[in-house]
C-alpha cells in the first residue's frame, strides 16, 4: 500500500472501475475503511502458514468438456434487443480511440 488511502485515492480507483464517486462519497469510504481495516486485522490474526487458498467450495476436478457442435445461436434481433440504437445489425459507440 504505497499510496495514501485518502479521498483522492478512492476517486482514482473508482475511475479505473468506470464509475465516479463524489467527494462526499469518497470521504465515506475513507471512514468505512477504518472499520474495514479493523475487521481485516481479525483476518490477519489467523495463522495461514502452509494453507492453500480455497478457490472453489468443492475442489473435485471434472473431466467434462463440451462437444464442439453448434447448439445455441440467437438471432441478430435478439442480440440487439436490449439496445435502442443500432446500425446495420451493429452495436454503436462513439469512435473508439485506441
Amino acid at each position: 500500500m504505497s499510496e495514501e488511502m485518502n479521498k483522492e485515492y478512492f476517486k482514482k480507483l473508482a475511475k479505473q472501475l468506470m464509475f465516479e464517486l463524489s467527494d462526499e462519497e469518497s470521504e465515506d469510504i475513507v471512514k468505512e475503511f477504518e472499520t474495514l481495516n479493523k475487521q481485516l486485522a481479525l483476518l490477519e490474526k489467523v495463522n495461514t502458514d502452509g494453507v492453500e487458498p480455497m478457490v472453489y467450495p468443492f475442489e473435485d476436478e471434472t473431466t467434462f468438456l463440451r462437444e464442439d457442435e453448434v447448439t445455441h445461436v440467437i438471432s441478430q434481433e435478439d442480440a440487439l434487443a436490449n439496445v435502442k440504437d443500432k446500425i446495420e445489425g451493429h452495436f454503436i459507440l462513439p469512435k473508439v480511440v485506441k
Binding site: 471434472t62 464442439d68 457442435e69 462513439p94 469512435k95
Partner: protein, 419 residues
C-alpha cells in the same frame, strides 16, 4: 555504435473449431454482424462459460508439434479490464497454468539453422470486432469468444530475418496441423513483437517497445528492421528510449507511436470461479497426438526418403502445403519426382500467378501433368511442344487428346493447302 537486438514474439492464433471457446455458438468469418452469437458471447448477466473440447484438442496438437510439455490439468483465470470489445469486462485466459510450457521450433535463415524457444502456449478467447467510422465505432460480436491460442516465444531472435523465419515456421506448422487458418490478412493469426536494443556485448537489456498491427509475414522483417534502426538512431543521438506501444504502418514502412506505457496495467488476475480444474485423460491426449496431421519437418524427411529431391526443392514445395499435396497426387501416376517438381514450381506456378489462380482453384488435373511429363520422357513430344500445350493443360484438358487434336488440325490444315 553497434547494437544488438533482443526480440520476442507473441502470436495469437484463432483455432478452427465449429464453436466458440466457452459457448455453443458457431465460429465464423465474414458473416452478417451479430448473427453468430448467443447470450454467453454477449456477456449477458448470469451466463457461464463451458469449455470446448475441440479447442483443447487443437491446443494440445499445437503444443505437441512445438515440443511443449503439456499440463493435463486445465485451469482458467480472469484477466480484468474494461474495453469496448470485451463483453464481460474480463477475458477468460490461462495466466497461471498455460496448457503448454517450454517448447521450441527450428528456423532456417541465411546463417543456418537456429532453435527458437517457446515459453508457453495458453488458451483464451477472442474479443469482438470493431469497425471504426468517422465518428462512430460499430461492434460485431460474431468473433467474441472464438478460441485462441497465444504462443509466447523466448526473446531468442536477434534480427528481422530470424523473426520473420520464426513466424513463417510457426505459421506453417499450425497450417499443416490444421488447427487454424493462420491467415494474417484475415486476422486468424496476429503477431505482436517486442524489441529492445542494447550496445553490442552488453549483458543488460534495453527498454522494450511493443509493435502491433503487423498484418503480413513479409512486414514482420520490415517492421523489425525499421524499429531497430529507429531505436539505434535515438540512442546514437543520446536520446532515451521510452516503453511504448507502436503500430506498424505498412504504407510508410514506419512504426508509429500508439501510446506510452505508464507503469504496468494491473489486470487483477484470479482463477475463474465458474470453471473447476479439468483433468484431461492421458489416453485422450495420446490419441490426439497419434492422429495429428503430418508436420512440415516430417514431410521434409518423407520427401527426402521417398522422392530423393534436393533440400532446396523440398523446402520450396513444403513451403506451400497445397502445392506439396498436389505434387503427391501427381506422383501417384508419375515416376520422375525432380521433373514433376520442376514443372510445378516453374511452369505451373508461373501460369497460376499470371492468371490469379492457386493450386487449389486450378482446373489442372494431377494425372494430366504426369501424362505430359511421361510423353516427354518417352520421346512422344519435345519439351518445346510440351510447353505449347500448357494453357490447355491448365484448363483441365488431357495432353494426349490435345496433342492428337493438334496433329489432326495440322494435317487438316496441310490437306487444305494441297491444291
Amino acid at each position: 555504435m553497434e547494437y544488438q537486438a533482443t526480440i520476442g514474439i507473441e502470436i495469437h492464433c484463432e483455432l478452427k473449431t465449429n464453436t466458440k471457446m466457452f459457448s455453443g455458438a458457431p465460429c465464423s468469418f465474414g458473416r452478417k454482424a451479430n448473427t453468430c452469437t448467443n447470450e454467453i458471447d454477449l456477456g449477458q448477466p448470469g451466463t457461464m462459460p463451458c469449455v470446448n473440447m475441440e479447442a483443447v484438442a487443437k491446443a494440445i496438437e499445437a503444443c505437441t508439434a512445438l515440443h511443449l510439455t503439456i499440463d493435463p490439468l486445465v485451469k482458467f483465470d480472469r484477466k480484468n479490464y474494461y474495453y469496448s470489445d470485451l463483453p464481460k469486462g474480463f477475458q477468460i485466459t490461462q495466466q497461471f497454468h498455460p496448457i503448454g510450457r517450454d517448447g521450441y521450433i527450428m528456423i532456417h535463415t541465411s546463417e543456418g539453422e537456429k532453435k527458437i524457444r517457446i515459453n508457453r502456449i495458453h488458451m483464451e478467447e477472442d474479443t469482438a470486432k470493431q469497425f471504426h467510422l468517422t465518428s462512430k465505432t460499430l461492434l460485431d460480436y460474431n468473433r467474441a469468444g472464438t478460441p485462441l491460442i497465444e504462443i509466447v516465444s523466448e526473446p531468442d531472435m536477434k534480427n528481422g530475418e530470424e523473426a520473420q523465419a520464426y513466424v513463417e515456421a510457426l505459421r506453417q506448422t499450425l497450417l499443416y496441423l490444421g488447427v487454424s487458418d493462420v491467415k494474417m490478412e484475415e486476422g486468424s493469426m496476429r503477431c505482436d513483437v517486442n524489441i529492445s536494443i542494447a550496445p553490442k556485448g552488453s549483458s543488460t537489456l534495453g527498454t522494450k517497445n511493443e509493435i502491433k498491427n503487423i498484418n503480413s509475414i513479409s512486414n514482420v522483417g520490415k517492421a523489425i528492421e525499421y524499429e531497430i534502426k529507429r531505436q539505434a538512431d535515438l540512442l546514437d543521438r543520446g536520446e532515451e528510449i521510452h516503453q511504448e506501444t507502436r503500430r506498424y504502418d505498412d504504407k510508410t514502412g514506419e512504426t508509429i507511436l500508439m501510446r506510452r506505457k505508464e507503469g504496468t496495467v494491473d489486470y487483477k488476475f484470479f482463477p475463474e470461479p465458474n470453471i473447476v480444474p479439468i483433468r484431461l485423460d492421458e489416453k485422450w491426449i495420446q490419441n490426439i497426438q497419434a492422429n495429428m496431421n503430418e508436420l512440415p519437418e516430417e514431410r521434409e524427411k518423407r520427401y527426402a526418403e521417398t522422392y530423393g529431391l534436393s533440400q532446396h526443392d523440398i523446402k520450396i514445395l513444403i513451403g506451400n502445403k497445397d502445392m506439396s499435396e498436389f505434387f503427391e497426387e501427381v506422383m501417384k501416376s508419375a515416376k520422375d519426382a525432380k521433373n514433376v517438381c520442376n514443372w510445378l514450381l516453374s511452369d505451373v506456378s508461373g501460369w497460376l500467378n499470371k492468371h490469379g489462380e492457386t493450386i487449389t482453384t486450378t482446373k489442372l488435373q494431377p494425372q494430366n501433368l504426369a501424362k505430359l511429363i511421361a510423353m516427354i520422357d518417352d520421346g512422344k513430344i519435345s519439351s518445346k511442344q510440351a510447353k505449347e500445350v500448357v494453357d490447355d493443360l491448365m484448363e483441365g484438358k488431357d495432353p494426349e487428346e490435345v496433342i492428337k487434336e493438334r496433329v489432326l488440325n495440322k494435317s487438316r490444315m496441310l490437306d487444305s493447302l494441297i491444291p
